[in-house]
Symmetry: C2
Subunit: 528 residues, 2 copies
């Protein structure tokens, strides 16, 4: 007899008491609703110094419980000042992390159910809803049927593009090694452009591709930083000549630095000649393809093997939610499946169901389909198109403001809702073109951006494209409206103006050139 009755029911606290859940749940909803109401008042980029939090928090976890009221006070006092507010309407950095009520509600539902849907039986709804919304979304994007379940392909929700690339690269690698023998692993080559996201290089490294066999092919301004099919073919030919084996190419639609676009059709044609797996990374821009006017950027996708976009970037779906479609799920499954006895079940044995654990790196997986379903249903396709178009129009508007001020220049053609610009020191006089190198301009714009971001009133980030430092203004935070774009522009001008004057004083020789334009901010859309 081994029944231990001591302390039976002595743990009086029920950590999942429905009424306590209700009480705290309502409190947190109000807390967050107030946060959104006030988010514009907080400095967009956190103003804290490294190590600020360790000074404020105790050395050890508390031994005794603390109330939610106390904790929320601390969130307000200690955490919120340390946040960079991605939901602020004045957030224009990186790519957006576009939240929405529907995305939030979906996330909360799946957190509440807290199921672990590694295989079908562990929660059939999690798996089936995922397959269904991935087909819905695929149809909205007008993907070739070969990427949909109905056409033999299929979609899966991953956390991030990095994971999507790692999974497809692993599948491609194993498929190839099956043919050519594992001893040739060291000969496999992975291709991207110098604009491709670092996720590719990282995935290649993790997958054991020899770092010497990672090709980051040069792009230039002449192709707006899209990869030239000629470059790809020539790199491949050179590798083949040296006995290497081309494996995987990642094309990007809407690169992180400048939203550059790789021409899919011609690039897929090259890849096809060498039997290379093509993955299309449209992490940011992919959401725009639900609008017919942007869909042409995907033309040529028929020649690719896999395609991914991040719904958590520009599709109002809370982080994390990367949508990956593949033509050949069996390639993923062959590479990533495991056959643990403790997960065996009738449904899986019957081969009638999808077990998404075999489509991803991890075993456990959250019920991410819920939030995508909520977003699609709560807004509907028409509104989602309008939201996207609204952001693109605001970016166009910003581009127009820049065009009115000759001190600034747009550095690469705008394709979506991001504008890459800089203060053009070359504009102040012809003489400068000889005397000032790009280095000066880069340094100037870097200082300018830092000075703007330090105010906390607006947040943008930067990139270097073709050696040129550019400031990126990415419209897409859900709360952003025209007034915020105007405010950003005003900040930019107000910081650039004195800095530019100071610069000109330091380079008096150039003052012989034409005078700089006057401050020309449009005030047609004032902030309320």
């Amino acid at each position: 007899m081994n029944i231990d009755l001591d302390n039976y029911l002595n743990t009086t606290m029920n950590p999942l008491d429905p009424e306590e859940f209700r009480r705290q749940g309502h409190m947190i909803v109000d807390f967050l609703a107030d946060y959104y109401k006030n988010v514009e008042k907080y400095p967009v980029r956190s103003q804290v110094e490294p190590g600020y939090l360790r000074k404020r928090l105790p050395e050890l976890a508390p031994d005794e419980p603390e109330t939610i009221e106390t904790i929320l006070k601390d969130v307000q006092k200690d955490i919120i000042p340390g946040l960079t507010h991605w939901q602020s309407p004045n957030f224009f950095g990186y790519f957006p992390s576009s939240g929405s009520v529907a995305g939030f509600i979906g996330e909360v539902l799946s957190s509440g159910f807290n199921v672990v849907g590694f295989n079908w039986i562990a929660s059939p709804a999690a798996t089936e809803l995922e397959s269904i919304v991935m087909d819905w979304f695929g149809k909205m994007l007008n993907l070739p049927i070969s990427f949909l379940f109905s056409g033999g392909g299929g979609g899966v929700l991953q956390g991030t593009t990095c994971e999507a690339i790692l999974c497809t690269l692993t599948a491609a690698r194993d498929q190839m090694l099956d043919k050519i023998g594992r001893e040739n692993m060291g000969k496999l080559v992975v291709y991207g452009s110098d604009q491709t996201h670092s996720a590719l290089q990282k995935a290649a490294k993790i997958a054991g591709i020899n770092p010497l066999n990672f090709r980051s092919l040069l792009t230039t301004k002449s192709t707006a930083f899209g990869l030239s099919p000629v470059s790809l073919r020539s790199a491949i030919q050179s590798d083949v000549k040296f006995g290497l084996i081309p494996l995987f190419f990642c094309a990007t639609i809407g690169t992180t630095s400048s939203n550059a676009i790789d021409p899919l059709g011609p690039l897929c044609d090259v890849a096809k000649d060498y039997n290379i797996w093509v993955h299309i990374d449209a992490a940011y821009a992919g959401s725009a393809f639900i609008c017919p006017e942007f869909r042409h950027f995907l033309d040529g996708i028929e020649g690719a093997n896999s395609f991914s976009l991040n719904a958590h970037k520009w599709f109002f779906t809370t982080l994390d939610c990367c949508c990956l479609w593949v033509k050949e799920p069996s390639a993923l499954i062959k590479s990533l499946s495991t056959d643990s006895e403790y997960l065996k079940n009738k449904a899986s044995d019957s081969n009638q169901v999808v077990d998404y654990k075999d489509w991803q790196i991890a075993l456990s997986r959250r019920f991410r389909a819920m939030k995508l379903w909520l977003v699609l249903r709560s807004y509907g396709v028409s509104n989602l198109r309008n939201f996207i178009r609204g952001h693109v129009k605001m970016a166009k508007h910003f581009e127009g403001l820049i065009a009115m001020d000759k001190r600034f220049e747009v550095m690469v053609p705008r394709n979506f809702a991001m504008v890459c610009f800089r203060v053009s020191l070359l504009m102040v006089g012809n003489a400068t073109q000889k005397l000032l190198g790009e280095g000066d301009a880069n340094e100037f714009n870097k200082k300018l951006l830092e000075s703007i971001n330090a105010t906390g009133r607006v947040y943008m980030t930067h990139a270097v494209v073709g050696g040129v430092y550019v400031i990126r203004l990415a419209v897409g935070a859900t709360l952003t409206d025209y007034c915020h774009v105007n405010k950003a522009w005003k900040e930019i001008q107000e910081h650039a103006h004195p800095m530019q004057n100071e610069f000109l004083r330091q380079h008096e020789a150039f003052l012989a050139g034409p005078q700089i334009n006057e401050f020309k901010l449009s005030t047609r859309f004032p902030c309320p």
Copy 2:
């Protein structure tokens, strides 16, 4: 001039309107509170058939918006029947996914803030809180200081153990290849036992380890399925003899099948002799080590390089939340860092901050520390210990019930809150010992489990340990109390009894043996 004023403000819907957020937020909290109140009424394991949902949902996403009221009705009608209810008090399958109010609130807060904390500046609080709670938790577990930030190590939150293992394995691989040259990649060997989670094999495969160099070392009942250091040494020696290079060993405390325990101290000693990276996977059992009476299982951890546990399993922290501590963060960083210009910033350049993107596979990352912080503060260390102990006591109680019924046997020693048992066909008579093989017993118990799970009243899963099919009852769902354990036991008996009688009828010859025991369910803890 490029300002497009058409349709300015024609998008009247604000997808992040604070008052709509408040309205829907409160609605969802009530929906989930009611779900918890009623969760016991739903069949634990979903009863739907493959493909059920596609029949119920439309072929396409809606063009126009639908109200949250409509959507929630559909969640109730179409989604909930397709859930396997991990939060049900009658859920005893796999390992628990132990939700809590605090874990939920923390998850909701981070979903609300929706920051993308890839590096420090992208949200300093996300990074700093993570480092702090990982030190808190590390101290609660009495980890050697070398695993804490204060001792030169550090902790990071990953999604899952699979990711934690892949990251550490990649770090170990690259560290080794730096020494021995990349051309030796094909010689690297990874070790685990035949009880190690399939995550190791999968990670090894993804990381490009030759599948022929993956060692799944035999364990036996004699060591309670813990790996013998002699086996490890002998496998290593054999590999070395054949010119292979030992790389990585994953020890497990609390295996998935049977909660077996690898003896850390002696195993780490062996690994040290060959300079092998040791990772300790305590995905499930790790949480118990905050109780001094369980901490001894971690003795010997000083000799390991990394250690992980899943707070989303048995630490009341919503999925996903894997805690990984490493002694040498620099090894992770060296392998996993990327150096994208667009992420450069002063704080990172200063080397004063942690950039967690370099500690994981993905770039983007959620603010997972929030929920762990909420759990630690809302309950306090004392209560958390009590919760864990409560589950262990309930498992002990169940073990006691089994001991009272001679028709059943516990198949491996219980270490934590999981009991592996089966109906013992050998008990019905000596004659059977000659005539019935383990195959019959396995088949019988498999049928028994399927029959129990099909009722939807209780859910358990199985494993095969040492060739024996065992039923696993894992206590840990947050709402589980003694009455639910008793109810499970009653279900088990009520299904086993007629099945056993039927079996005996089919094998009449054995009836000569001693009579089976009478039904002996304790009714001391009836469900309310």
